[in-house]
């Protein structure tokens, strides 16, 4: 996905760009409102991450302008304010959601997904391998047996495998992707989720292989 990050703090912006890149997202960064305007006039973005306090103005005015221009690109506001005080104003101004700094990137992704899903999947975000089709936005897996809803963690695990078929992912890497830092879980917990997606992929010609001592990978049923 392609993000536009409007954020004046250079260090924070770089960290966010780096972090989202890890998940395979392309992020453009704009440090000011002017730069942000320039960016959206030349490129299409799947989602805009907007900071409120900017050197050349209030992010809310950008938001208002954005909605006035009837642009459909969803906006998630990054707010440093209190959890509650800004909510009403922001949502009324047309923000699709907001997330309070500092944020967990998995939560940010979850919110992005939720926002995009609400948009009605205009940009169908589908990945396929073999005869299995993963729709990230809808949160579904389609196989010969039909389409199945996925739990959040199942979806995220499948995203990892579908993102790089054949690549071996260590348990550690998968845990990083699946669990938040506050969840104190053992590496064995990953096996439960791998078990679940294997079951869901059972009717297809793809499977999750265990590579002893290294981890797991997505492979075609030979």
């Amino acid at each position: 996905m392609r993000f536009l990050l409007v954020e004046d703090s250079e260090t924070l912006a770089r960290a966010i760009v780096d972090r989202l890149a890890l998940d395979g997202h392309a992020v453009d960064h704009a440090g000011t409102l002017d730069a942000a305007q320039a960016s959206i006039s030349v490129a299409d973005y799947d989602l805009i991450l907007l900071d409120i306090m900017l050197p050349d103005g209030d992010g809310r005015s950008f938001l208002a302008q954005h909605r006035k221009a009837r642009k459909r690109t969803p906006v998630i506001v990054l707010t440093a304010r209190s959890e509650v005080s800004d909510r009403v104003g922001l949502l009324d101004l047309g923000a699709d959601d907001y997330i309070t700094k500092p944020f967990d990137f998995s939560e940010l992704q979850a919110r992005c997904r939720a926002v995009l899903r609400r948009q009605g999947g205009s940009a169908a975000n589908q990945t396929s391998f073999g005869d299995a089709v993963l729709d990230s936005t809808a949160g579904t897996l389609t196989t010969a047996r039909g389409t199945e809803d996925l739990r959040n963690r199942e979806l995220r695990l499948l995203e990892v495998f579908f993102g790089a078929p054949g690549q071996i992912f260590s348990k550690t890497h998968l845990m990083d992707r699946l669990f938040s830092f506050s969840d104190d879980v053992s590496e064995n917990a990953i096996e439960v989720y791998v078990g679940r997606i294997r079951k869901k992929l059972g009717a297809s010609n793809v499977r999750i292989e265990t590579v002893r001592g290294l981890g797991y990978r997505l492979a075609s049923r030979a």
Partner: protein
């Protein structure tokens, strides 16, 4: 110190009344004294005039016959002295120290200079003070010229009676004047202070958030006070918005660096290979999360306290509010594969309250439930309308227990110290404060291992 201060700051009204009354008292006294002196003098002069007229009339009746001074004492000369009062009357007609007629021992009032008009004198005679007048009249007796002294004296009973009557009248008038003036001074103080009362009322009537300038019809003298008051209100306004700004600013200042550190830490975590390094980085991220959560809740708490004081009320729909909160936190719950089941009936639950505060309360309760629920569970958000509104969040978590270090009941007591309220428990403290601020309560039903049900109870209109 404060007692002395209180004693010193007597009311303007009583001071004004006292001062006006004191002025009235002085004027009354002055009036009384002046009336007395003037009236006494007038009465005295009246008596003197009558005495002089009497003596003159007697002197006019002097004549000489056969080488002797003779007198036809005119009836009216003496009787006129009895017309006004019942004073005793004495007279003496003497020539060259020899009494011709009358009271031989009646002293003659010495004229101030010979040939002058009647000479007056006051002395004691026959046991009583008398006012006497002597008129000198030369009478030709043969070839001689005899100076005849006609003295008429009268006691001062009538004078005293007149004086006491006038004193009585003067006293009555002075007292009356004093009373009327005092009553008027009450009225004057009242009306002089009326603008102050109006000003007081116009300030007292205001709501807690009414920080507009005071605009009442004020007299010139109160304009500086009004100006000062309005300046103060303006400062208060600035200060209040500044404290709101401060909370915002503080949040910004704390959260942005934390966000930076956390993002970088996460990136770093991904790049690290050695498990011990990764563990250290994970702990760092957890610490960041914990502190940002605490900071967030402290700031939330400050905001709740700030807003609770200002008592903003708006009509809102509690069902809608709960639905919004559920949707807002659904992605968070999703991360742990937790389902939020909404058991919210159709139809509005109208309530007058502070939207921000109620949202904060619900958010904290739900956020807490998500935090303490294991993955792959469900949380039920239900709303019930009855004698009171009941917004409940029930989870399948561990529940609260006495052994739990996060015992919520401990945190409910307002007297708890700050160290104790830092942490997730503050979320329930916030919810509790919001509930009480709206005339409701927070109810926690919990059984260990069975999960907890936290309900926000609010009075139905």
């Amino acid at each position: 110190m404060s007692g002395r201060g209180a004693a010193r700051s007597r009311s303007i009204r009583s001071r004004l009344v006292l001062q006006l009354a004191a002025v009235a008292a002085i004027l009354s006294l002055a009036f009384f004294l002046i009336v007395r002196v003037v009236a006494d003098r007038a009465a005295g002069e009246t008596q003197d005039n009558i005495l002089a007229a009497s003596a003159t009339a007697i002197a006019d009746a002097l004549y000489s016959v056969e080488g002797q001074v003779a007198l036809e004492l005119p009836y009216s000369a003496i009787s006129m002295l009895g017309t006004i009062s019942e004073d005793r009357v004495f007279y003496r007609v003497a020539a060259a120290g020899e009494t011709i007629t009358g009271y031989g021992d009646l002293p003659i009032a010495e004229p101030q200079r010979p040939g002058a008009g009647p000479a007056f004198s006051t002395y004691d005679y026959r046991g009583e003070a008398v006012r006497a007048v002597t008129v000198m009249r030369p009478v030709s007796v043969g070839a001689r010229r005899l100076d005849v002294a006609v003295t008429v004296a009268q006691t001062q009973l009538g004078l005293a009676a007149i004086s006491s009557r006038i004193t009585g009248i003067a006293t009555a008038i002075a007292v009356g004047f004093f009373l009327v003036a005092t009553a008027l001074s009450f009225w004057a103080a009242q009306s002089a202070l009326a603008p102050l009362d109006r000003l007081t009322q116009s300030v007292a009537r205001r709501g807690p958030n009414d920080l507009r300038d005071v605009v009442t019809d004020t007299p010139t003298e109160l304009v500086p006070l009004m100006g000062a008051l309005n300046k103060f209100i303006a400062r208060l306004r600035t200060s209040l918005s500044r404290s709101e700004d401060l909370i915002t600013e503080a949040a910004h200042r704390v959260r942005t660096p934390l966000a930076t550190v956390r993002a970088q830490a996460e990136v770093t975590h991904h790049r690290l290979q050695k498990p011990e390094h990764r563990k250290a980085m994970r702990e760092m991220i957890r610490a960041i999360d914990e502190s940002s959560r605490s900071a967030g809740q402290l700031l939330d708490h400050a905001m709740v306290t700030f807003r609770a004081d200002s008592q903003e009320r708006a009509d809102l729909d509690l069902a809608e509010l709960l639905r919004e909160t559920c949707e807002r936190l659904a992605p968070t719950a999703d991360l742990k594969d937790i389902d939020i089941v909404q058991d919210i009936p159709e139809g509005a639950m109208p309530f007058a309250g502070d939207r921000v505060l109620l949202q904060s309360a619900l958010h904290n309760i739900l956020d807490n439930a998500i935090k303490y629920s294991p993955p792959d569970t469900r949380i039920t958000a239900s709303a019930r309308a009855g004698a009171q509104f009941e917004l409940s969040i029930a989870d399948n978590g561990r529940g609260f227990s006495a052994s739990d270090h996060d015992d919520p009941t401990a945190r409910f007591s307002r007297g708890s110290n700050v160290a104790d309220i830092v942490g997730s428990g503050l979320g329930l403290t916030i919810a509790d404060e919001v509930a009480r601020n709206h005339g409701g309560a927070l109810r926690i039903v919990s059984e260990e291992g069975e999960g907890a049900c936290v309900s926000l109870l609010l009075p139905a209109a």
